[in-house]
């Protein structure tokens, strides 16, 4: 029963994936050129998050430096 359910689910999902992969080819920027822009988006997300984290660390360090006595 469960295997059937999953089979049907997988079939619906696969068909919707293939349909959507076929229908808007060229219109959907992220799906164009072999979906390479998905990889670009993933790398940009990683880079952006690392920079945001770095900026936060930098701010914490700046605050600490202000509190430290000057030598």
């Amino acid at each position: 029963m469960r295997a059937y359910g999953f089979g049907a689910f997988a079939l619906v999902l696969m068909s919707s994936v293939t349909l959507s992969a076929q229908a808007p080819a060229g219109t959907d920027f992220l799906r164009s050129t072999g979906k390479i822009y998905v990889v670009a988006a993933v790398c940009l997300v990683i880079l952006a998050a690392l920079f945001i984290y770095l900026i936060r660390l930098d701010r914490r360090l700046s605050n600490l430096e202000k509190r430290l006595p000057n030598e």
Partner: protein, 361 residues
């Protein structure tokens, strides 16, 4: 581990940075370069029509990816494959341009075995770029007037002398296409997170054994870096899923369990923030940490394997093997795992050092 902890003033450094941090820089530069620049195998992205009638000729228009149909030489061949050796060769293959070709087949009016629909895979081979396959490319509908003599056609065509792709290439997988490169960016984040949480749990255990506050400080630093990687892993996974599973969040067991695991660790940070007394905070968080790590293993590795999942490596899907990760991909994947883990340890160390400075002021 001792290397990460010993990176204090006075340690040997090259150009102001210790060797393992340089290793992180070099490995990740290599991973981004190779992960982006190594080309993909050729593949088939579209076939029209996707339905053919048995006992009739059909002209298939095929769109390829990374192919050289026009300039790659005249040895362009195409087959429709039912199962095993049961194949039909195209009687004419004509390249329209580098990525488009039309292949003409005569589909026999009888098939070995009887089905309502016959799924046929399309195989295209050309010496210049090698073989590409699209499973279930077309479906054949049985003929109204089967001619038993057609059965002989199935045994005359054979697949032979296929060209393997040469040089350093990554596999072309249907639906995945270029996104197979995310294996070098999405997956190592999770490997890194698990290792960072593991280091954190080890320090929590050490805190229990020795009661050293430094262990508590290290433990929380690793959690912060691990949480950063975990959230990134989840977001990059959602992006990848949108263009392969067709939804950012499909309530897949792997996604759900990963989110729960992250919430447990986020809960640890909330717990730490709500306890005023630092000794009590350290003790509570060490205990919570060990339980959280003990939960991480079943949440990420056991439960998703027990049920159906879209995610590779779970619910019967293979991962880290076959064509999803072949030896040519491993040349990038393992450096990526090491590089991202070292980067995580670097971030954790910075968090620790800032925390240490904050305790002094």
């Amino acid at each position: 581990l001792a290397i990460v902890r010993s990176d204090e003033p006075g340690q040997p450094k090259r150009f102001g940075l210790s060797a393992w941090k340089w290793a992180a820089v070099v490995l990740l530069l290599y991973v981004f370069a190779a992960g982006w620049l190594v080309p993909l195998n050729p593949g088939i992205t579209r076939v029209a029509p996707d339905r053919v009638t048995a006992g009739d000729t059909v002209e298939l228009t095929v769109e390829g990816y990374n192919t050289l149909f026009q300039s790659g030489g005249a040895d362009l061949r195409a087959w429709l494959r039912l199962t095993g050796d049961t194949v039909l060769q195209a009687y004419s293959v004509e390249a329209k341009d580098e990525r488009m070709l039309s292949a003409r087949f005569y589909v026999p009016s009888v098939f070995p075995g009887r089905q309502e629909r016959y799924p046929l895979s399309l195989i295209i081979d050309q010496g210049a770029r090698g073989i590409s396959v699209l499973p279930n490319a077309v479906f054949a509908v049985p003929s109204d007037q089967p001619n038993p003599a057609d059965m002989a056609r199935w045994t005359t065509d054979h697949i032979g002398h296929l060209h393997k792709p040469s040089g350093w290439v990554f596999p072309f997988r249907n639906i995945l296409a270029e996104t197979i490169r995310n294996t070098y960016f999405h997956v190592p984040l999770w490997f890194g997170m698990i290792l960072l949480f593991g280091l954190s749990a080890w320090h929590a255990y050490r805190y229990y054994r020795r009661g050293d506050r430094e262990d508590d400080a290290w433990s929380v630093s690793y959690i912060q870096a691990g949480l950063l990687f975990g959230v990134l892993g989840l977001v990059t996974g959602m992006l990848w899923a949108k263009y392969t599973w067709n939804a950012y969040w499909s309530w897949d067991v792997k996604q759900n369990m990963a989110a729960i695991a992250l919430l447990i660790y986020a809960g640890l940070m909330v717990l730490r923030g709500s306890v005023e007394d630092s000794l009590q905070r350290a003790r509570l968080s060490a205990g919570y940490n060990l339980f959280a790590f003990a939960l991480l293993i079943p949440l990420l590795f056991i439960i998703p394997r027990l049920t159906d999942s879209l995610h590779p490596g779970n619910g019967g899907n293979p991962a880290l093997g076959g064509e999803d990760l072949d030896n040519r991909m491993r040349l990038v994947f393992y450096p990526a795992v090491i590089g991202f883990t070292l980067l995580g340890a670097w971030i954790a160390q910075l968090v620790y050092r800032i925390g240490k400075l904050a305790r002094r002021t």
